[in-house]
Each structure stands twice: as structure tokens, then as C-alpha cells.
């Protein structure tokens, strides 16, 4: 029954492709079995909508008259500093960047109400952004100061380029200590007061393609409400972790680096986000279509929350001190029930990733494909898999003295 992407695209063009979401496929397989489902279904759509810190945008703001060389100078967008170590008017805006006068955690826990992620959300929403720049001036770029409003409509390029998104599985965070901990996994109450997780589980892209058989470099995706592509494996991509018999990693594993034209994205799928006591970031919407090329691939997409397990990690000691200890493993079905047991105590759970929005993304992508507006792409190259021998490296410090 093996299908090719070209065959699936032909069906999409004719408006005949059968597309279901990664949530719906579970029912389809239960009802029809893997073999029939694989014959009938052409594409399974996945989705995720969670905070993803390794995100940012490259902007080319156009040349002022007289010209200014921002490279090597200082540039702020709505007071948020951007990276200028590029050519004259290319800049990079990272989502965790903060205004210099933000008190950070000086008044603990800091609120981080506005940062790079919020600037991206406003930019995508079509709002004017205040640009303030200073430069050193050269013969060809004489200007030393620039203060202007910019708008996404008027700049040459705005490219979202997220170096690590869509983690394949992630820790559940708890706090064993006797004081509240403010973390990137949210507010963790003392003495196992709560347990926070962040995943779309059975809808999450890489959990539906555990061995990266269809998702790879060049995969066309839903990104921030528009179209994007998988550019590379994300940083910290680590396929060599413990896996279950179904192939699903039991630890944080693969990641995606994604790219897309910010100008066609939507603010509701790129949301500036503030983690109390931790920092600012952005919540990114990503949806990946999985072509059903074989029964094996279909079987992977039918994964259920009950089949996905993840480690429980103490964020008061084990995580900050980089200790490998975990407090146990738990399934996403359990986590979604609202309570899990940790060290004999019943602990209420909460998610940082929005499941209803993940469902919506998978649904939107499904509709794009059904309407023939979104064709699948052939892979340019696969992501490194288990056989790649990649190992996850920690930083082992070395003294600098005497060099």
C-alpha cells in the first residue's frame, strides 16, 4: 500500500486527500485497525502551542537616508535590545531579550511583562515599533543616530528563525523544597504543591513521528499561523534517549529548528509570554503534517497520551544542580487526569502548553490540506536519528588561568 508524497500531493490537488488530526486518528485506528486506516488516510496533522524560548526573528529594516551601519552599534525595538553583529541593516530580535531598565529578578520574583517575544507579537500584529539606534559612523554609513517607527509592512524582510522548538517530550517539574520556585516550568509550589508539564502529548509533532521518518529538513509546516519549514534539527537534538517499545522517547529527545516568513504569520499564534521570576519568551504555534507512507508511520501517529511517559524532575535541586535524578515516570494520560502521585503524595497537575490550541492548529492545517492550499514537501535531508551517535554534551568547565 506504500504511498509516495507525490501521490498524496496529487490527491490534495484534486481535493481528494483524506486528512485527520493526530487526535482523531486514534479513534480511526481503534475502529478500523492499522491496515485499513493506513490505506484510507493520507495525512495526519499534528499541533503544539507552548512557550519556546529559542525563538527569534531576523529583520532587514531598510536603509535610511543618510545611511547608518547598525552592525557593531546598538539597536532597541520598543526598548528591547537586538543583536547587531551582522551587516548594516540586518538585526536579530531574540524572544528572551529584556529592556535594559527591566528590574529582572532584583525585585524577586521579577514579572518580565515585556520582552523580545512581545515585540514579535506586536510586530506581527502590524503595530508600529519604536526603533532607537546608535552607531559609530563610517565614510559610507555616516549616520550615528536613528530614531524612527518601523512597521512589518515597510521593512524588507522579517523572518522567524527559531533554533530550537517543538521538543519531543519534556520533563514534569515539581518542587521538593520548602519555598516556592519560579522556573521556566512555571510557578512551583513548595513541598510537591503542584506538578507542571508542557506538551501537546498525542498531538505533538515529534511524538507522532518518534524516529523522524517523515519530519526532516525541508518539511513544510504550520508556523505561527503561516507557512514555515523545518530548517535543521533543533539545538540539543538528542535522539539517543531511553525509548519505549512504541519508539516514543521517555526523556526529552528530538527538537526542530524552524523558519518562515513572519509577514504572513498571525499574532494569535505567536504570543509574547512572561514566566514569573524567570523571564520573557514567546508561545509558538507549530503544526506538522505527517504523510501516511506506510502502515508503520500510521501506527506511530496513533500514539495515545497513555502510551507517552515522561520523567518527573525536582526543580529545586536536581535540575538547577544538574543532577540526573528523577522522581519517577508518568504518562500524559495521568498528567491530564489532574493529579499524579509523587513520593506517595497526591500532586495536582497543570500544563503550560495549550492543548485546545494544539487541537485548533492540527485542525487548521487539516483544512488547508483538504482545500488544496497546502501541499506536502519532500524531505531535503533526514534529521539525525538514533544511528547518528549524537550524544548530549554538558559544559565541563576548564580553568582559564595560565593560557
Amino acid at each position: 500500500m506504500a504511498k509516495t508524497i507525490a501521490e498524496i500531493n496529487e490527491k490534495i490537488r484534486k481535493g481528494q486527500a483524506v486528512v485527520v488530526t493526530a487526535e482523531k486518528i486514534i479513534e480511526v485506528v481503534e475502529e478500523k485497525g492499522v491496515k485499513r486506516a493506513a490505506e484510507e488516510v493520507d495525512v495526519v496533522t499534528t499541533g503544539t502551542f507552548g512557550p519556546m524560548c529559542s525563538s527569534g526573528a531576523f529583520l532587514n529594516i531598510g536603509h535610511s537616508k543618510p545611511r547608518i551601519k547598525l552592525g557593531g552599534g546598538k539597536v532597541y525595538l520598543n526598548d528591547v535590545p537586538v543583536y547587531t553583529g551582522l551587516a548594516a541593516v540586518d538585526i536579530f530580535l531574540g524572544v528572551t531579550a529584556l529592556p535594559e531598565d527591566d528590574p529582572r529578578n532584583k525585585f524577586y520574583p521579577g514579572e518580565f511583562n515585556y520582552g523580545g517575544g512581545h515585540v514579535i507579537e506586536e510586530l506581527v500584529a502590524g503595530k508600529d515599533i519604536r526603533l532607537v539606534a546608535t552607531a559609530y559612523g563610517t565614510d559610507c554609513y555616516p549616520r550615528k543616530k536613528l530614531e524612527t517607527l518601523i512597521n512589518i509592512r515597510d521593512i524588507n524582510e522579517a523572518v522567524l528563525f527559531n533554533i530550537r522548538n517543538a521538543y519531543q517530550n519534556y520533563n514534569v517539574a515539581v518542587n521538593l523544597s520548602d519555598r516556592t520556585r519560579y522556573t521556566y516550568m512555571g510557578v512551583l509550589k513548595p513541598n510537591l504543591g503542584n506538578a507542571n508539564y508542557s506538551t501537546a502529548g498525542q498531538l505533538s509533532p515529534l511524538l507522532n513521528d518518534p524516529y523522524y521518518k517523515t519530519i526532516g529538513i525541508g518539511t513544510k509546516i504550520f508556523l505561527g499561523g503561516g507557512i514555515g519549514y523545518v530548517a535543521w534539527q533543533g539545538t540539543q537534538h538528542n535522539p539517543n534517549v531511553l525509548r519505549r517499545d512504541n519508539g516514543v522517547p521517555r526523556r526529552p529527545a528530538g527538537t526542530l529548528s524552524v523558519i518562515g516568513d513572519l509577514k504572513q504569520m498571525k499574532p494569535e499564534w505567536l504570543r509574547g509570554t512572561s514566566m514569573l521570576g524567570y523571564g520573557s519568551t514567546i508561545t509558538v504555534g507549530i503544526g506538522v503534517p505527517i504523510p501516511i507512507l506506510s502502515e508503520e508511520i500510521l501506527r506511530y501517529t496513533a500514539v495515545k497520551d497513555a502510551d507517552i511517559i515522561t520523567p518527573i524532575v525536582d526543580y529545586s535541586e536536581a535540575y538547577p544542580q544538574r543532577k540526573p535524578d528523577i522522581l519517577g515516570e508518568v504518562s500524559y494520560a495521568r498528567l491530564k487526569s489532574g493529579r499524579i502521585e509523587v513520593q506517595g503524595k497526591e500532586v495536582p497537575t497543570a500544563s503550560l502548553s495549550s492543548y485546545p490550541r494544539a487541537v485548533e492548529i492540527a485542525q487548521i492545517l487539516k483544512e488547508w490540506i483538504q482545500k488544496g492550499e497546502f501541499l506536502l514537501s519532500e524531505l531535503v535531508a533526514p534529521l539525525p536519528g538514533v544511528e547518528s551517535g549524537i550524544t548530549f554534551k554538558n559544559l565541563e568547565e576548564r580553568p582559564i588561568e595560565g593560557r
Partner: protein, 136 residues
């Protein structure tokens, strides 16, 4: 004139171990009913009280509380949800001390019940999207 008021008290860390409510009742002749208490050693404490008594005693009691350094919030404020900003992630669920946020199991949408809300404000800063707002 006898009155009844609901207030939220935020105790700074240094006052958590002081017998403040005992004095409030004894010295100002106020009846109290604790609606909610969240006090962790070495951290800010939170107490939601219903106070009953004479207006002049109430006013003096509030003055006493203010002088001790407690921040007082009246329940005439309201916490509302900015529906446009809420993504229904559910980060608020375990933060709320009264269970005002409930996940609808089939859709996993988060329902906010303002009748259960005691306006403690804990969700406001804990919400990563800053969707919860205080209205006066």
C-alpha cells in the same frame, strides 16, 4: 452601624508569625470568619477574611492592620479574564487557592468561575500570557 466586609490580607514575611488576627478580634471587637488562608513559613502569607462588627470598630481594625504593614485588598475588586489573551494552557489551575479554574475534560478548555474567585490575585502574575486582570 453593624457591617460585614470581605477583605484579602497580604502578610509580608516578617509578620507571618505574629498573632495579628487574634488582636484584631480582641482589641477591636470584630468577629472574623476565615474564608481562605495560605501561609507558608518564610514567605508572604495570604488570608481572606469576612469581618463583622460596628463601622467604627471596623475602621479602627483596618487602620491597625495597615499600620502593621499588611497590604489590604477589598473584595470589591474583580479579577477578570481577558478572553482574547487566554490560550487555555491551564497554568493557573494549580495556582488558584480556591479552585476557580476548572478544565472541561473533553475539550480541555479552562473555565474561570468568578463566583469561586476570592480576588487574591495569585493568578495574575502566574499567568504566562498575562490574561488575568484586576478591575476596580
Amino acid at each position: 452601624m453593624a457591617i460585614s466586609r470581605r477583605i484579602v490580607l497580604h502578610f509580608p514575611e516578617r509578620l507571618v508569625e505574629q498573632p495579628i488576627i487574634c488582636r484584631l478580634a480582641r482589641d477591636f471587637n470584630l468577629e472574623f470568619n476565615i474564608l481562605k488562608a495560605a501561609v507558608t513559613p518564610n514567605e508572604e502569607g495570604l488570608l481572606v477574611l469576612e469581618l463583622n462588627g460596628e463601622q467604627k470598630d471596623y475602621d479602627r481594625g483596618i487602620q491597625y492592620l495597615t499600620e502593621t504593614g499588611i497590604r489590604i485588598q477589598s473584595l470589591s475588586q474583580n479579577v477578570i479574564r481577558n478572553e482574547e489573551r487566554c490560550t487555555h494552557c491551564g497554568a493557573c489551575i494549580t495556582i488558584c487557592p480556591t479552585g476557580a479554574f476548572i478544565i472541561e475534560p473533553s475539550t480541555r478548555l479552562v473555565d474561570f468561575s468568578d463566583t469561586k474567585c476570592i480576588v487574591c490575585g495569585l493568578c495574575i502574575k502566574a499567568c504566562p500570557l498575562r490574561a488575568m486582570e484586576l478591575k476596580f
